[in-house]
Symmetry: C3
């Protein structure tokens, strides 16, 4: 997995709403409901490093993993704990080390803990919520680098992840370039609508003039 | 719909808790669970301008509407998207224009997006949550100015809407004057109880002296 | 019920995550999902003063109680409203008086109101959420000082309650000393792991060296 700086630069100027509209334009899914900002800057983007957890195998217990050593700087850890809210798979040690190592952030399909430490470290952390009970001896790492599920959205290693105050969006790796390019062009149209309307045009006229109502609809 | 400045001035000094107690006194519903402050000042009041959305009619798709042009300054947009959390009916363009046009705020029975822009615009926005996927081509405006539902509460055009950090309360238009008047008188009693108790009286004595336990109960 | 200053001093330096791990070590429950910080400092600890509410008895209505007069300074009010989100059992008068009287904070298995006042008073308030409708004439005090339920966790009078940004943990009164002692020793180990890893050791090596993966597992 390589971290493509051009995508990160483009995504830094885009909102999840704009990227979601571009996904709609191409008929792609990717908007993950129920995952929200928990700590750190309310912005994150980068290619996914995926980790899937499963209930602990009591016959042969595994661990919650030391995968952090293997994540490249700039990548986003996407941890799939199946939406469980009864035990955490990310905590303070992880936030402090991930911040130090320059990771792009962490997104949890489940809950996380020590969230005050992530805030202090300025580390972007997204999850379904906060809790304090450890996942150790409750879940274990089941797969690394395999496709995972994030609130109904499929995430593969290398897929591009963008998150902000509104939540998390995932773009398939092979479509990242065209989706981000389309999002940037749609952003430009919306900016023209706002400018015209703030300048006195009715919203109705401004939207009609710039084709707002079909902006994210792909020409049939 | 006219925006009655006297009601807005009175409501500005009242909390949703005080108005809810006054509604209880008259045996009226109006407290809407699950709708919370999302952006802007944690205070909103004004008469409702109602918009109802319905799933898109694929045979003859409608739009998410340009109703913003028709809402008078001071009014509160109440958007009923049936509590859906999978697509938004309010976003950044709307927040910026609504702030510029002096609307009282927006309350969504559902989710909204571009919430950072609403914050920047200082625009009061209440909803069941945040998400980023557009409602365009998913829902369409079904009715404007008709009664709508807000988390189980009926809202008609012109009903008085008050919201703060605790959530949203709706007062029927025809009862607004007596409800706000009653809320102000109950507020005065509660202030006397707090003053007496902070002054050393037991809470039990203070409440008994000022009739706290039956304050919102209408004399039979 | 006495408020043991030694426990409060120890707990002030511990996170709920550390205490939860110590509870795991002894095979004890205590982590209460779904209860989150609402107002005031994001830290609370002290012995529980328990109050249970029940639906109002229409034949002989009771009150929401004046138990506040009986709670010693430093204690934490634990109010069990059965997780109800349709009416509140804690409001602004209570927050202001409780802050003045030096209570340790309030934890509600349910919702609370006038949360802006608790914030202004700097009073630690934890609950399942915010709402504004009063519990008066909807629920009444059913028991004081009896065992109650907090999001699935049993809380007895005098049990030690600790809360922070991640949520609320309850330690049985008879086990408080050993649980807090164990939490402090586990905290020391985690601090050595972080220090070693920030110093350049891989997380894998640091965790192996200090026995992280079995830290909260009691030696069989």
């Amino acid at each position: 997995m390589k971290v493509d700086q051009i995508f990160i630069d483009q995504a830094a100027g885009l909102s999840t709403a704009e990227v979601s509209d571009a996904l709609d334009y191409f008929g792609l899914p990717g908007s993950a409901p129920g995952i929200r900002p928990i700590a750190g800057p309310r912005k994150l983007c980068g290619p996914a490093f995926t980790v899937r957890f499963a209930p602990v195998d009591t016959a042969k217990p595994g661990t919650v993993g030391d995968y952090l050593d293997d994540i490249p700087a700039g990548a986003v850890a996407v941890l799939d704990n199946a939406g469980r809210i009864d035990c955490t798979v990310w905590g303070g040690i992880m936030s402090r080390l991930a911040a130090r190592r320059g990771l792009g952030g962490t997104v949890v399909n489940g809950v996380c803990r020590d969230t005050a430490e992530a805030d202090e470290a300025g580390y972007p952390l997204y999850a379904a919520g906060r809790f304090m009970r450890t996942g150790k001896d409750r879940v274990q790492v089941d797969a690394i680098g395999e496709p995972v599920t994030l609130a109904g959205v499929r995430v593969c290693a290398g897929d591009f992840v963008i998150a902000d105050l509104d939540g998390v969006v995932v773009v398939p790796a092979a479509r990242t370039e065209e989706v981000l390019r389309r999002a940037l062009s749609m952003q430009a149209v919306e900016q023209r609508i706002v400018a015209a309307a703030l300048d006195g045009m009715t919203l109705s006229d401004a939207r009609r003039q710039f084709g707002y109502h079909t902006l994210q609809r792909k020409p049939g």
